[in-house]
């Protein structure tokens, strides 16, 4: 098998996909999170400011989902096909909610009628909350494993099986993490009374996050089989949960010092460490089979050919700096507090 710097291609691609989904979680995390506070703001102006805080950015942030999905399809077609067809209902709901969410952003402020704005506010809030929740649910399902038989054929329940207690817990944890991230982002972008209100809301969000995170972690350790095996083999990686914990603990400290940008960095790091934890724990498995470990989808039996992975790794080497350049330019252009003008939503 071909390698680069001593790492085989499927592992490299695993890192690429992991990085893309981490980027998606961090960036769309604050988008979905900001939207999940939407109905907590009472005044129409506050709601408009909150939407326009993500206004010029969310399209670019969504690119991470699109590239992440493409990267999964390209590098691990078996994983892409197996996961999406087995998780048919949650993914279809997720996709439709994405459509509703972008419609709400575009159309909400297009009319002045009260009923119009109220309806879209509910659609916007609901879609953000449910998207964040569903992402956690899917992650929970992956961690628990699927009923995969030979040739990756899924034999589990097809309509409501995805809503297991563990998946629901993971859903709430993701939602709370995104809400924390979203509140910090909005603190960066707002001023005045809305800002004061957000400081208050962020505290609630942190409590929501810490409690749901504690419950889910405890449940994982007790009920999910073999999660600690990896760490027993390689104790060095215990550093990941410790880092995640330190990053979380740092967020309230920075917020109280009004260092919102640093707080956003640390809450992003929390997400990144948690995802690294999951990635490390699963590796090289992508989708565990609950029937027999030999039926699991791994990065080796799911991967595209060496040739194809090589081509795509080259693309990433060329494309990633370009993309980073565009994003930096965009974020620099829209740095600072939200100011509504005639081009705003």
């Amino acid at each position: 098998m071909e390698t680069f710097l001593g790492i085989d291609y499927p592992t490299l691609w695993y890192l690429v996909v992991g990085l893309l989904f981490s980027g998606y979680a961090v960036l769309e995390g604050f988008d979905y999170g900001a939207g999940s506070w939407h109905l907590f703001f009472k005044k129409d102006l506050s709601r408009r400011i909150a939407i326009n805080a993500i206004g010029p950015l969310w399209d670019a942030n969504q690119v991470w989902l699109i590239i992440g999905g493409g990267a999964l399809f390209a590098g691990f077609p078996v994983m892409y096909a197996t996961m999406l067809s087995a998780m048919y209902i949650p993914f279809m709901l997720f996709l439709l909610l994405l459509v509703l969410r972008s419609s709400a952003i575009k159309f909400r402020s297009a009319e002045k009628m009260l009923w119009w704005r109220k309806t879209w506010d509910i659609v916007y809030f609901g879609s953000n909350v449910l998207i964040a929740f569903l992402l956690g649910v899917v992650l929970g399902n992956v961690l628990q494993g699927f009923e995969l038989h030979e040739n990756f054929s899924y034999k589990g329940g097809i309509f409501f099986a995805f809503l297991s207690p563990y998946a629901i817990m993971a859903g709430f944890t993701t939602l709370s993490l995104f809400m924390t991230q979203g509140a910090i982002f909005l603190l960066l972008k707002t001023e005045g009374r809305l800002h004061a209100r957000l400081t208050f809301l962020l505290k609630k969000g942190m409590i929501f996050f810490i409690s749901s995170f504690a419950i889910t972690s405890l449940y994982t350790l007790i009920f999910i089989h073999g999660v600690t095996d990896k760490f027993k083999e390689q104790p060095l990686f215990f550093i990941l949960p410790i880092l995640a914990f330190l990053a979380v603990a740092n967020v309230p400290r920075l917020v109280s010092k009004k260092k919102y940008f640093q707080a956003l960095i640390f809450s992003s790091l929390t997400m990144a460490f948690l995802l690294m934890l999951v990635a490390f724990q699963l590796y090289p498995v992508l989708l565990p089979s609950t029937i027999d470990p030999t039926y699991s989808v791994t990065i080796y039996n799911a991967a595209s050919s060496q040739k194809s992975l090589g081509i795509m790794l080259t693309m990433v080497v060329v494309g990633a700096p370009l993309l980073a350049g565009y994003l930096i330019f965009l974020y620099k252009t829209f740095n600072g507090k939200v100011q509504l003008d005639d081009t705003s939503y």
Binding site: P56, G69, A74, S85, L98, S153, G319
Partner: protein, 451 residues
């Protein structure tokens, strides 16, 4: 209904709905680049007003295009899992390239295009417009490459057997430049330019008829007419070149397009007609042996007909392919006539005096849209029964794990949400058109000066 049919209906519906928007974005993008370029070059504020106006319509179109496009990206996995595993090695790299090189470009610069008027210099803004336009063109490239590979696979080999069989890339550039991709990319681009320019023509024809925004509408109409005339003509060439490719690479599809059944005989070309698949006869008006002439420049040269293929290896819906193809061609010819005549009047200086012609232009916006849709239907139904031509059948490609009820459930949701979305699209575009490019109430003096 069975899973295969439902999965096909769902895919056809979601892709057809999606395909209303990206061609409009590409076409309007081209017009915006020209308008904003003229504004920077001449400093004439009328062009700025036009750019800002079309940007508003572009924003809605682009937004719905992205939202409905994400669904397509994941629908391969949900509904067509076997197919996804089969083509992932090849298709995936095209999709990844699309995300990395095209979609990243357009979506990032879109933020600056829409909200950056007061934050960046006019030149940087113009640069962003160009980048968004290029991004949307590149997107089309990679998507059409992937689709063309399904029609005319190249640069690959098949590895494994039965369930584990899949295509793996052996030569990336041969895959990208497979026999049909270049022709089809150009054909799709031009179809998109026409869709966008005809919307511009329609809106400004409407203003001219209503006597509103006369000055700027004349300017916009001329720009769009010039672009539309050029691409109506070149579209005929790319269509012809594309058909030549189909004759070589997908003879069964070509035969279905003209309802040609004889194993090997000179083939007719119909202006219109009706195919009876049972009697294998076509009723209609034809140019005898016209297809032979078109493909081989020789009326007597034989063309492979549908009967040269086993019943289960040729398109089943021959009449549908025939009709879709002929609607597309008829519209194409009509658009050439329309734009050439209008250009002739422009040259004579009487273009804006012909009310009836402006009325035709006001409604003609639908024609390129219809041609784009039916063109794709002809291309995809003509590819049947193959999902990957010659290798994987459509009835083998769908997700084995998914039940008919699941697809039905999601299909109904899509129907409802998309119906609402379509109404919102029409409503808000209509509102923007009624409101017009310039707010007369806000700055009445400026309005008189420029418009």
């Amino acid at each position: 209904m069975d899973v295969e049919i439902l999965a096909r209906i769902q895919f056809a519906f979601t892709i057809a709905f999606h395909y209303i928007y990206p061609p409009l974005s590409i076409g309007i993008g081209l017009i915006m680049v020209i308008m904003e370029g003229l504004y920077l070059k001449t400093g004439n504020k009328q062009y700025e007003i036009l750019t800002r106006f079309w940007l508003k319509i572009f924003a809605i179109t682009f937004g719905i295009g992205v939202a409905t496009g994400i669904i397509m990206e994941f629908e391969f996995g949900t509904n067509w899992a076997v197919y996804s595993r089969y083509v992932g090695d090849i298709f995936g790299s095209a999709l990844a390239a699309e995300g990395l090189f095209a979609f990243g470009l357009e979506s990032t610069f879109l933020g600056i295009l829409l909200f950056g008027w007061n934050r960046v210099s006019p030149k940087v803004h113009f640069f962003s417009t160009i980048m968004v336009f290029f991004g949307s063109m590149f997107s089309a490239v990679w998507i059409v490459v992937a689709n063309s590979w399904q029609q005319t696979p190249a640069g690959y080999h098949i590895v494994g057997e039965g369930f584990n069989a899949r295509a793996e890339v052996t030569d990336f550039w041969a895959m990208v430049f497979n026999p049909s991709s270049v022709d089809r990319i150009i054909h799709v681009w031009q179809g998109a330019f026409l869709a966008g320019t005809f919307l511009v023509l329609s809106v400004h024809a409407y203003y001219l008829l209503k006597g509103r925004y006369i000055e700027i509408s004349k300017k916009a109409f001329k720009i769009a007419l010039a672009v539309a005339t050029i691409f109506s003509l070149t579209q005929l060439l790319s269509g012809h070149s594309s058909a030549d490719g189909v004759a070589v690479n997908q003879p069964a599809k070509l035969a279905a397009m003209e309802g040609h059944y004889d194993k090997s005989a000179p083939a007719d070309m119909y202006l219109f007609g009706w195919v009876n698949n049972d009697t294998q006869e076509v009723t209609g008006i034809k140019i005898p042996k016209g297809l032979s002439f078109l493909v081989h420049q020789d009326f007597e040269e034989p063309i492979t007909g549908l009967n040269a293929f086993p019943e289960n290896e040729r398109p089943g819906q021959v009449n549908a392919v025939f009709q879709f193809y002929h609607i597309m061609v008829s519209i194409g010819i009509f658009l050439i006539g329309l734009t050439l005549y209008a250009s002739f009047l422009w040259w004579r200086g009487t273009l804006f005096e012909k009310k009836w012609l402006l009325k035709i232009f006001a409604f003609a916006v639908l024609l390129p849209q219809i041609a784009n849709q039916v063109g794709w239907f002809a291309a995809e139904m003509g590819r049947q029964p193959w999902i990957v031509y010659g290798h994987l059948r459509t009835d083998e490609g769908f997700s084995q794990e998914v039940s008919a009820n699941q697809i039905l459930f999601s299909l109904i949701l899509f129907l409802v949400v998309y119906a609402v979305l379509f109404l919102l699209f029409i409503y808000s575009v209509n509102k923007k058109i009624k409101h017009g490019p310039y707010d007369e109430a806000k700055n009445p003096d400026e309005f008189l000066k420029y418009v």
